[in-house]
Symmetry: C2
Subunit: 370 residues, 2 copies
């Protein structure tokens, strides 16, 4: 075990044992001094700043290396921590970040999920089953049509209604008009049903508009937000999450982020990317492509995401794993068994297929998940 003045990262490495050991050694240098080791005269830099191999083990058919770094290499900044974890090494094939153990001093500085699983349960008033989510789509519908759809979803008892991640500020449904109309529709339904359905407007936008939209959504009565930090940036997501003047649950969407996990041997693991990184940046819930749908994630990868969302990460709250994509009614019982109750099930198009009465379809979804 490294000292408390060092943090650790577990990498998986392709190649023979000898090649893996060589890769681990290169990571220690690349991620810190990025300089010919034999030209470094300074003992402090050689002994403390350069990464240190703590162990190399077999890892399935590959090897894994646990490497420790001095806390001061990261300052007390998330961006620089991530830079030490994977900055230049992200460019090298055959090396994958499996797990991060950030310095305690950094974890204490970050706020992480503001609500987490228990906070979202409290807001929705649902404690004994997976939460249900659907998305307002398809792109191209008018504000009136989207608000009408939201009203039906809420009447049928969907717990969280999110904008499709493709709804931004297009002419067919301008952001401000959409948010006002949908908030109104969901409020109306909530009054009628007694449910506490949350609407999550998509605040992903250019530059400062992300912040403006979050504030507009809050002022319009939205009770949660969704953002794609692959587009708006992880730091902007974190600023939204940590902004007390906003203070709404934040749903993470993986748009434009797939490249980090698409290769089995390079990039970042499903556990670390969707479970750890998103929480470091304040995600209360994490939308990801479910296994068996039109995406290629395996059951094992999805289980890793769920673990990453829920497992201990310093004092940060656990986040709700949110599998979605190609979900249908017949799969709900197995998913409930697979993910347990502490999850949010996202059904989009699948909610339209069983019959033409959307409200009735939503009620069936609620019964199946109950």
């Amino acid at each position: 075990m490294p000292s408390k003045n060092r943090f650790t990262v577990v990498y998986s490495l392709t190649g023979s044992k000898k090649e893996a050991a060589e890769k681990a050694k290169n990571i220690c240098v690349e991620q810190t001094i990025e300089f010919p080791y034999n030209l470094v005269a300074d003992k402090y830099i050689r002994d403390s700043i350069v990464g240190r191999i703590e162990s190399i083990k077999t890892f399935g058919k590959k090897y894994s290396a646990t490497i420790s770094y001095a806390n001061e290499t990261a300052g007390v900044e998330l961006t620089q921590f991530l830079n030490v974890v994977f900055g230049n090494t992200s460019i090298k094939p055959g090396i994958r970040v499996e797990r991060m153990l950030p310095p305690t001093v950094l974890l204490k500085k970050l706020k992480g999920p503001r609500f987490g699983i228990s906070g979202i349960r409290k807001l929705t008033g649902i404690y004994d089953r997976p939460l249900l989510c659907s998305a307002l789509k398809p792109m191209g519908l008018s504000v009136k049509e989207l608000a009408g759809l939201a009203y039906k979803f809420a009447l049928g008892g969907i717990d969280i209604i999110k904008d499709d991640h493709g709804l931004a500020d297009q002419p067919f449904s301008p952001f401000e008009k959409r948010i006002e109309a949908v908030c109104k529709a969901v409020n109306k339904a909530n009054k009628e049903t007694g449910f506490k359905t949350l609407y999550a407007p998509n605040i992903t936008a250019d530059g400062l508009d992300t912040f403006k939209r979050a504030k507009f959504a809050k002022a319009s009565g939205a009770k949660s937000l969704i953002i794609s930090p692959g587009l708006a940036g992880f730091e902007n997501m974190r600023m939204i999450a940590e902004d007390d003047s906003i203070g709404l649950p934040l749903f993470y969407h993986p748009a434009f982020h797939g490249s980090y996990v698409v290769s089995p041997d390079s990039g970042i693991s499903h556990y670390a990317f969707f479970g750890q990184l998103t929480r470091l940046c304040g995600a209360d819930a994490v939308i990801f492509p479910n296994f068996g749908g039109r995406f290629s994630f395996s059951e094992e990868q999805c289980a890793h995401i769920a673990s990453g969302c829920r497992e201990k990460l310093g004092i940060l709250k656990p986040a709700l794993p949110g599998p979605g994509g190609g979900m249908t009614f017949d799969r709900i019982p197995y998913m409930k068994k697979f993910y347990g109750n502490d999850a949010v099930f996202l059904m989009g198009g699948g909610l339209f297929s069983p019959g033409t009465d959307i409200v009735d379809n939503c009620r069936k979804f609620r019964v199946l998940a109950g």
Copy 2:
């Protein structure tokens, strides 16, 4: 050719011709309505909003599909444009963005590189050879040591001295003290030599600190900046680039961005990622791993990056390609031939190996590139 109301993206696709055609069809839906096509009643959505296959061709051993999208799917926002280009599809293996042709209306809104190649040449006063760059490192040196190194680089005629991307705000060289000391050292050398060496502080930081550091650097007399948007976010980079109160050339660094290009069949091409996306976000110069060093980019991939940086992209200025990583003196003649003069050659550790006199090594570098 699609109409001027539509923009196009070229994707490369793995699989047989039939599989590639199926993938292209799926992209058209996934990137827009993300909804069962047969359940869409609205003719406008079916005919205009859903992506349209313009052509499918062979592409080496793969296929390429040119797909057009209605401009209104992207609003007039870069984030939503990128979402339509590759949002959810980034999660699917075997699909790669090869090239983007953004809507003219978006290109007109974006400012792109403020200086571009000719602007940086004017600032450095070097018109007839590749520009020379080196990095302040290794991490762990004190402010005094880094400033001493910068002084030597500048005396020796390095055109651009950048912070190593691993220098942030660590205890061994706090940001503000470092920037002040290095600016002073480079100014002193410039007065002695008559050269116009630019210092590029690394402004990559958490949240608003990126903006604070850019402003501090400007106020301290820095004449350029370097940022890793893989960490700080592309949108934050673009805001810095477009901020008239800053107005300094911006160097792009690829830290934490490697996962987008690490797979040959998934992610984004070297051309589109390093040459197009960086310019859309305002990069005046693009640092990337050179072929033949310790990274795995091929000559062909590096040539694509250089083309992407220089080729027409609406009215946006061309950017300087900046190959670096494992560069040594003996490779300079070939690199000069390969990249031509409109490039910036980054030599880090290699500048320390030829002899103990750093100033003399820099002078040799200048002669070799001249």
